[in-house]
């Protein structure tokens, strides 16, 4: 995707939305979250503009206790350190089995710092050099490379746990997670989140290869998820095919790129500026900011609670709609927007002709419920 040029009308429109605040940069989590709810115009617009959603949500009184728990972070770091110790000894065993690493492929490149220097730009340049340079023998495992993905014209720096570069030139993204895989099964939503996060890295790697004039298809869509096995700290690996997630991600990224179309639907006065004073305290009236937010339609789903800072505001707004109960409920009740409407149909209200079918189903469901539980709807 291409970045916005200065003076681009979309760009200035987005700057207006953000107001005086500095743009919030994306990271792997926010980009994944973007792809998790592609139907949400509110999130697309605020993210494209780089609005600090946390600050906005707090100012209108819906602060979300957001972010990862300290304990989860500590556990994740400890597990990652464990599988990487001894030159990635535990990882090598798994990767030899899963992506057929040869016994000679054991090179380990630590890209956490470059000669003691942790600057992102430098680490990124070094990553590009290691991945695409010709004189790079014996580099198989790349520990914390730094990738870059342009989102809405601004670079977002991404740091995968590990990249495996095979002798034949194929590149695999390795994601290390600390949730347990018990008896070959893991929490579906967590695997889905890991898959989309890996897809973000695959996208960034392919862009990197293309920019360097190398072959982007060398980056495999088969990523490897490494997680603790059963109730032990022993790691196990699972292959993930992220082609579907890549598709969603590409669509979402191109949507941000063509954000002007979306922006054009709203009045030119729309802004999420907090009007901060010189001590960075927001002065804008809450009602005014709330009204601004509500001009842009959201697409609330319960999953938002895990991925979006504005979730409490949207949930409050969506109260009474079928969507607030989750996507399956909304799809089952196709065409009925409010739970109240569904309930009155179930109680026998005469439906409009286009709702006749779903009304009959609801009526039947209510009868069954009454028979089983003895309760009326």
């Amino acid at each position: 995707m291409t970045g916005f040029q200065p003076g681009n009308p979309g760009r200035s429109g987005l700057d207006r939305l953000r107001g005086r605040a500095l743009p919030k940069n994306h990271d792997a989590r926010t980009i994944s979250a973007l792809a998790a709810n592609p139907g949400c115009a509110r999130r697309a617009l605020l993210d494209a503009a780089g609005v600090d959603k946390q600050a906005v949500a707090a100012h209108v009184g819906y602060a979300a206790p957001f972010g990862q728990s300290q304990f989860a972070i500590a556990r994740g770091n400890a597990f990652e350190a464990q599988v990487k110790e001894g030159g990635g000894a535990q990882l090598l065993t798994l990767l030899r089995e899963h992506i057929d690493l040869d016994v000679s492929e054991v090179g380990y490149a630590d890209l956490n710092d470059i000669g003691g220097n942790e600057q992102r730009e430098l680490r990124h340049r070094h990553t590009v050099h290691v991945l695409t340079g010709a004189d790079q023998p014996g580099r198989t495992l790349l520990d914390h490379p730094l990738l870059r993905l342009r989102v809405g014209g601004r670079p977002a720096y991404l740091e995968p746990d590990l990249i495996a570069l095979r002798l034949d030139g194929t590149i695999h993204v390795i994601e290390i997670k600390s949730f347990a895989v018990i008896d070959g099964q893991a929490d579906g939503s967590k695997v889905a989140a890991a898959a989309i996060q890996s897809a973000v890295y695959v996208r960034a790697l392919r862009d990197l290869m293309a920019e360097a004039g190398a072959d982007p298809t060398a980056v495999s869509h088969r990523t490897v998820l490494v997680a603790p096995k059963d109730f032990s700290s022993q790691p196990t690996a699972t292959s993930l095919d992220v082609r579907k997630q890549l598709g969603v991600l590409d669509r979402q990224l191109s949507r941000i790129a063509s954000i002007e179309d979306l922006l054009a639907r709203y009045p030119r006065t729309l802004t999420f500026d907090l009007d901060p004073d010189d001590k960075d305290r927001p002065r804008r009236p809450k009602a005014e900011l709330t009204a601004a937010i509500k001009q842009v339609t959201a697409n609330y789903a319960p999953e938002c609670l895990a991925t979006c800072e504005l979730c409490f505001l949207c949930r409050e707004e969506a109260a009474g709609t079928t969507g607030a109960l989750g996507k399956p409920v909304r799809e089952d009740l196709g065409g009925i927007e409010y739970t109240a409407a569904a309930l009155s149909l179930a109680r026998g209200q005469l439906p409009t002709p286009e709702r006749a079918e779903i009304a009959a189903q609801l009526l039947r469901a209510a009868q069954l419920r009454e028979q089983v539980l003895g309760e009326e709807v």
Partner: protein
């Protein structure tokens, strides 16, 4: 002997009072002088107690080195790290150093203390270079000769051993496995911690684990040596080249890594 210990105990009590009084009256210099004498007295007390215990157990326990030591070694931390590193003979991370010491020397220590140890050693070296017979120092990354993250080494080792190329982490891992296996073979009844350590190595080396899950030292040694032949030549070549470049550095940089690149790149970023 017993009297000296008691005399020392009295002296320690007196010194504690003096430190407290000096602190309360705000005389910092005096307090630190008293504190130094207190430390000396405490060390003398420790030594005297150890000596007394050795005299008591007498001639029937001449080979006390082979008996399991009580938890918490009396040796200073740097000596303990030195012992563990000397067994491994390659640069190692604090966690492994602590595990090896627990397995073969009967005591362990928190890894956080090991990290600060390296800083203390560097300070000591910079104030009085080569005043000690050895220093616990850093391993150097082969590309920039800067400190390799999280690895410790001993200053008397050849530079070739202390530089870390891209294959070195694996080569060193296999070497550690061989050293641990050899150490276990020397002990008639290896402690559980040592056997567990060997099993952990075996799990990550192809062909090292027995079918029953346990790890035989000889099998681990052979499997590690077999894989080592694949990487050894290329690794040795890269390390020789890097060590050659490292010889141009000054004494402190050879031991604790150069920061030239960090400073240079930092400046470039500012400009």
């Amino acid at each position: 002997m017993a009297e000296t210990i008691e005399a020392l105990e009295r002296r320690i009590d007196e010194l504690r009072v003096k430190v407290r009084e000096a602190m309360l009256s705000g005389e910092r210099a005096l307090a630190s002088a008293h504190r130094a004498s207190l430390k000396q007295a405490e060390q003398a007390w420790e030594d005297a107690v150890a000596e007394a215990a050795a005299a008591r157990s007498g001639p029937e326990a001449p080979a006390s080195a082979h008996r399991p030591l009580p938890a918490g070694s009396l040796l200073p931390l740097r000596e303990q790290v030195y012992e563990a590193l000397s067994l491994l003979q390659v640069p190692a991370a604090p966690k492994l150093i602590a595990t090896v010491h627990e397995a073969f020397f009967g005591s362990t220590f928190p890894t956080t203390r090991v990290t600060s140890l390296k800083r203390d050693e560097e300070r000591s070296f910079r104030t009085a270079p080569f005043a000690r017979p050895y220093y616990i120092c850093a391993a150097l990354s082969a590309d920039y000769l800067s400190q390799s993250r999280g690895l410790l080494a001993i200053s008397t080792w050849p530079l070739e051993l202390r530089v870390i190329g891209s294959l070195s982490p694996r080569v060193d891992f296999l070497t550690e496995a061989i050293r641990v296996a050899e150490a276990i073979e020397r002990i008639p009844e290896p402690p559980t911690a040592a056997r567990r350590l060997l099993e952990r190595f075996a799990a990550s080396i192809p062909g090292a684990s027995g079918s029953g899950g346990g790890a035989r030292p000889a099998a681990v040694r052979e499997a590690a040596a077999a894989e080592l032949t694949v990487h050894a030549d290329a690794d040795a070549k890269a390390r020789r080249a890097a060590a050659e470049r490292a010889r141009a550095l000054d004494g402190a940089e050879q031991l604790f890594g150069t920061t030239v690149f960090r400073e240079m790149a930092g400046k470039a970023a500012v400009e």
